[in-house]
């Protein structure tokens, strides 16, 4: 497979569900996971005579996104109707924005794995309503399709990028950056598995060096980075193979099934709907005043880039640690609470990204649902930092906290895990072990200086055993080295 003569052009359309309590045009709840059709009111069901009333919070969230990417804010935006028949679109049209979106051109800077940065231009972002869900293909009774309108009317912003990405990595980094931005400013819960962010990927290829864009396809509704990457890689290969075999790429909408790994066309350009957009006569133009914009700007939560910089400066974190923790809003918030409690930011960062993240991952939990609170983790790190417990003990304490046994101090107390750091007591143990293992000591003395270090482990094991694991290993190390030196 030689694709070296080709380059890829990628643009993204990202649907972000806004974290408002109620829907964009009705007072029905937007919470996820309720029984089908229990969160759809007369407006969401498009009952005759019902009318939409715009949710101001959704407008504010959209403006906040615009401010976060330094975009022009549409001070007067307008809703239009996008007309099409489908059972999960109860009105027979989607209320969306076309000619006058609420967010205009903006920019998102992404940092790539090689350390370089790249600017992805945002064409615009607009407000619209989500559709309901059709339940078929095994999800419902045989021969019958069901419709769940709980999601219908959930507010979305659709973020449309320019085709500024040239491979899957860039697209994923960009997607993650958007996730980081919208969760950091609190306008989206970021729960990808619940569909809170969904990606449409526009892909085209062209001969290297060409400035003309190739014909693009759009793969719709990807809801994980993994699927997105797979879909892009597959689609790029498909297009290149197609062209190299003398074919042409058709402009079409495609679907990628992440479970079966199969991509297939959904509809071609010829079959595309004529959506007959026109201004929605039930809604007035959306006017956002300068005062509102300024107020939202003043109160805009910290953006991920700023937070990462602050973590380096304030906590002395490495670039890498700051990037990992700082880009994840809930993790960053958790870390800050834990770090304050522990007074050791670096160690807190290690535990947050290490033990905690691994355990959360393995149980598919997000940090907001962590059984170990930030205060608890901070308490644990504090005991490691002040040498009360060893790293090994800390893992045992962490298990206890995870199991709900209380704070680190409670568990240390209850399990008698206190580390022995008293120099006198440790010296006594070391001397006892050396005395009891004369053969090992002789062996140590007779070993080449260069290889002696390897022999230390044996003594350490015996000493830790003798102290029932409670000896402070760093101190033991020191004392042991000193005592053996004296024997040389």
């Amino acid at each position: 497979m030689s694709h070296s003569g080709w380059e890829t052009v990628i643009g993204l359309e990202v649907h972000v569900q806004l974290a408002t309590k109620t829907k964009i045009f009705s007072a029905a709840s937007t919470s996820f996971g309720a029984e089908a059709n229990t969160q759809a009111c007369a407006i969401d069901l498009a009952m005759p005579g019902t009318l939409p009333v715009l949710n101001k919070q959704a407008v504010h969230y959209a403006v906040m996104f615009g401010l976060a990417i330094d975009a022009e804010i549409g001070k007067e935006s307008a809703f239009e109707r996008k007309n099409y028949f489908y059972p999960d679109s109860p009105k027979g049209y989607q209320t969306t924005q076309l000619e006058k979106p609420i967010v205009g051109r903006g920019n998102v800077e992404i940092k790539l794995a090689d350390g370089s940065t790249k600017n992805v231009r945002i064409h615009h972002a607009h407000l619209e309503e989500d559709a309901g869900k059709s339940l078929h293909e095994g999800g419902f009774r045989h021969g019958v399709s069901g419709i769940d309108l709980n999601r219908a009317g959930t507010p979305l912003i659709e973020i449309v990028s320019e085709p500024d990405m040239s491979n899957a990595e860039e697209a994923i980094v960009f997607a993650k950056k958007l996730h980081s931005i919208v969760t950091s400013i609190g306008i989206c819960d970021g729960e990808m598995s619940q569909g809170s962010m969904r990606f449409d990927v526009n892909v085209s290829v062209r001969p290297k060096g060409s400035t003309e864009l190739g014909t693009r396809t759009e793969t719709k509704n990807l809801n994980s980075y993994k699927f997105m990457e797979e879909a892009i890689v597959k689609e790029v290969e498909r297009q290149i193979d197609l062209i190299e075999d003398g074919g042409t790429v058709k402009q079409e909408t495609r679907l990628y099934n992440g479970d079966t790994k199969i991509a297939r066309p959904m509809r071609s350009k010829e079959e595309a709907n004529d959506y007959r957009y026109f201004p929605c006569p039930d809604l007035l133009p959306v006017i956002v005043s300068d005062e509102t914009i300024e107020e939202l700007r003043r109160n805009l939560p910290e953006l991920p880039d700023a937070r990462q910089a602050r973590f380096i400066e304030q906590y002395g974190l490495s670039d890498y640690d700051a990037a990992v923790i700082g880009s994840d809003a809930p993790m960053a918030a958790y870390f800050e609470i834990a770090a304050e409690k522990s007074s050791n930011a670096k160690l807190t960062a290690n535990w947050t990204m290490g033990e905690l993240a691994a355990r959360l991952n393995s149980q598919d939990l997000n940090i907001g649902k962590s059984p170990v609170s930030a205060e608890q983790l901070g308490g644990l790190v504090a005991r490691i930092a002040d040498n009360s417990i060893s790293g090994k003990m800390a893992k045992e304490v962490f298990e206890g906290m995870w199991a709900g046994e209380g704070s680190a101090d409670d568990i240390i107390e209850a399990r008698g895990l206190k580390q022995v750091s008293d120099t006198g007591a440790l010296e006594k143990i070391v001397v006892e072990v050396l005395t009891a293992n004369q053969a090992m000591v002789d062996d140590y003395i007779n070993t080449d200086e260069a290889k002696r270090k390897k022999k230390l482990g044996g003594f350490m094991g015996k000493i830790m055993q003798a102290s029932k694991g409670q000896a402070n290993p760093q101190q033991v190390n020191q004392i042991l080295a000193q005592k053996l030196n004296e024997l040389l």
Binding site: G49, L54, N83, P87, P281, L284
Partner: protein
């Protein structure tokens, strides 16, 4: 009792001359006995009405009851009524029972008015003759071979035939004023945004406006006091204080400047209708008003613009009637497409399909600019015509319709002839202005109407002007033969 005006009924009820139950029974009996002649009422809610009347009598006995307490009325079947079938004149909604009230319905309920039922109408308010109703045409009480006008023909005929002292109606291009004129009653289409559209089944959202129908301007004022309200459930409703429309009815109209648009008296206007309207203008002159000839140069463009904008909006407003969630559903659909196409083919009547097709066409890619875009520009020009006129005059007057009620079927094959029925009325909807029709004469023993067009939110003045006319003339109190 049925010949009393609402104002007189209010006095009688508050003065305990008769009870609401008696009054309601009387009107219900008339509906039961006479409506077979008119087909004005689709649904009668006798039990609920009598219960409401009994409750109203209690409120009246306790004192301080609102004006409309105990007054029986009818709602056009376009207003959603909680628990009562709301058909919009269509097979599509023949089985539709809304779980909510329109704000207008709610307002009347709060005031203690007694709702006796729902009136017939053109299907989805699309028509000027009431011939498009799924429930059959309404007959004009003045001439059983003639149309009552539309789309609020049921409300107009019911009021004219004394089946109710007043009724609600809606007007998208003349649907209050034209049937009011053809049935010899008084009807008012308020300023767009004055009356909430919540629960009023949409035809063309940017044009639809609810309003009252009654025999007199004074009664319309009483009804409008109740109907008009700010409603945060309708984003296009305007938050503006509702004046007491009855308070200024007696004001003198001396010095009133009446604009008489040249374009409203051109070819196409029946000479006898013109005579009646001119006579009404002369009456105003006699009362001290000044007639000023004005021009609304874009009048001729109003019907074409209207018949692009209204169907365009209707085509998407009616997409929701798909057989999925409520309303008519075709039998045994094979698949989704079959469900859609047969449900809509079987559920909608011809005129509705006609307009959905026109509207869909006008909004289609490649046609939008030439049709919808142009029509919106025309709409602005028409609005500017009125703005200019109102710099010069206080109100504008002319005929409501080109001629009196026409015979059933006489315009059936020619939609354009039917659409020209709206020639004097659609411009006010396009501009969002209030308009009124007041009976001003008989032509071939059929009523004709004087149209009064006011400036934005000038309903109180219009009602005052109409009331002053009705103090001096008797056209509004004529009773159709056989109604008595």
């Amino acid at each position: 009792m049925h010949n009393l005006t609402i104002a007189e009924l209010v006095k009688g009820l508050q003065g305990k001359e008769f009870s609401s139950v008696e009054l309601t029974q009387h009107f219900l009996a008339r509906i039961a006995k006479l409506d077979a002649n008119y087909n004005a009422v689709i649904t009668v809610t006798a039990d609920q009405a009598l219960k409401a009347a009994a409750a109203a009598d209690k409120r009246l006995a306790a004192g301080n009851a609102p004006a409309l307490c105990g007054v029986p009325i009818l709602h056009k079947d376009i207003f959603c009524t909680n628990g009562v079938r709301t058909s919009c004149g269509s097979k599509m909604l023949d089985n539709f029972i809304p779980p909510y009230n329109a704000t207008v319905v709610e307002n009347f309920e709060q005031a203690g008015a007694v709702v006796m039922g729902k009136t017939n109408m053109d299907e989805f308010a699309m028509g000027s003759s009431n011939e498009t109703s799924f429930y059959g045409p309404v007959k004009n009480p003045w001439a059983s071979d003639s149309v009552p006008g539309g789309s609020s023909g049921g409300s107009a005929a019911a009021v004219a035939a004394r089946l109710a002292p007043g009724a609600t109606a809606t007007d998208t291009g003349g649907s209050i004023r034209q049937p009011a004129a053809l049935c010899g009653i008084t009807g008012l289409k308020p300023t767009y945004g004055r009356v909430s559209r919540w629960g009023m089944i949409a035809f063309a959202s940017s044009l639809d406006q609810g309003g009252p129908m009654a025999r007199t301007a004074e009664d319309c004022a009483i009804l409008l006091n109740c109907m008009a309200s700010y409603d945060d459930k309708d984003s296009t409703c305007i938050d503006r204080e509702v004046p007491d429309y009855g308070a200024t009815l007696g004001d003198s109209i001396k010095g009133l400047k009446i604009g008489v648009p040249r374009e409203y008296f051109s070819a196409g206007l029946d000479p006898d209708t013109e005579k009646a309207v001119r006579a009404a203008l002369a009456e105003y002159q006699a009362q001290g008003a000044e007639l000023i000839e004005i021009s609304l140069p874009n009048t001729g463009l109003s019907v074409p613009a209207y018949y692009v904008i209204a169907p365009a909006e209707a085509s998407t407003n009616l997409t929701r009637f798909d057989g999925v969630r409520y309303g008519y559903r075709c039998e045994d659909p094979k698949d989704l497409n079959d469900l859609y196409t047969r449900t809509r083919a079987e559920g909608f009547g011809d005129e509705v399909k006609h307009r959905i097709l026109i509207g869909t066409y006008c909004l289609s890619a490649g046609y939008y600019d030439a049709y919808y875009g142009k029509a919106q520009q025309v709409r602005q020009l028409i609005q500017q015509d009125f703005e200019k006129a109102f710099e010069q005059v206080d109100v504008i007057m002319g005929p409501t319709t080109p001629s009196p009620a026409f015979k059933f079927g006489s315009k059936g094959d020619d939609p354009v002839a039917m659409y020209l029925e709206d020639i004097y009325t659609v411009a006010t909807n396009l501009a969002g202005l209030p308009g009124m029709s007041v009976p001003c004469g008989l032509v071939d023993n059929k009523p004709v109407g004087l149209q009064i067009i006011g400036n934005y939110f000038d309903e109180a003045r219009m009602l005052n002007i109409a009331h002053q006319y009705q103090q001096a003339t008797q056209w509004h109190s004529l009773t159709p033969e056989g109604v008595a």
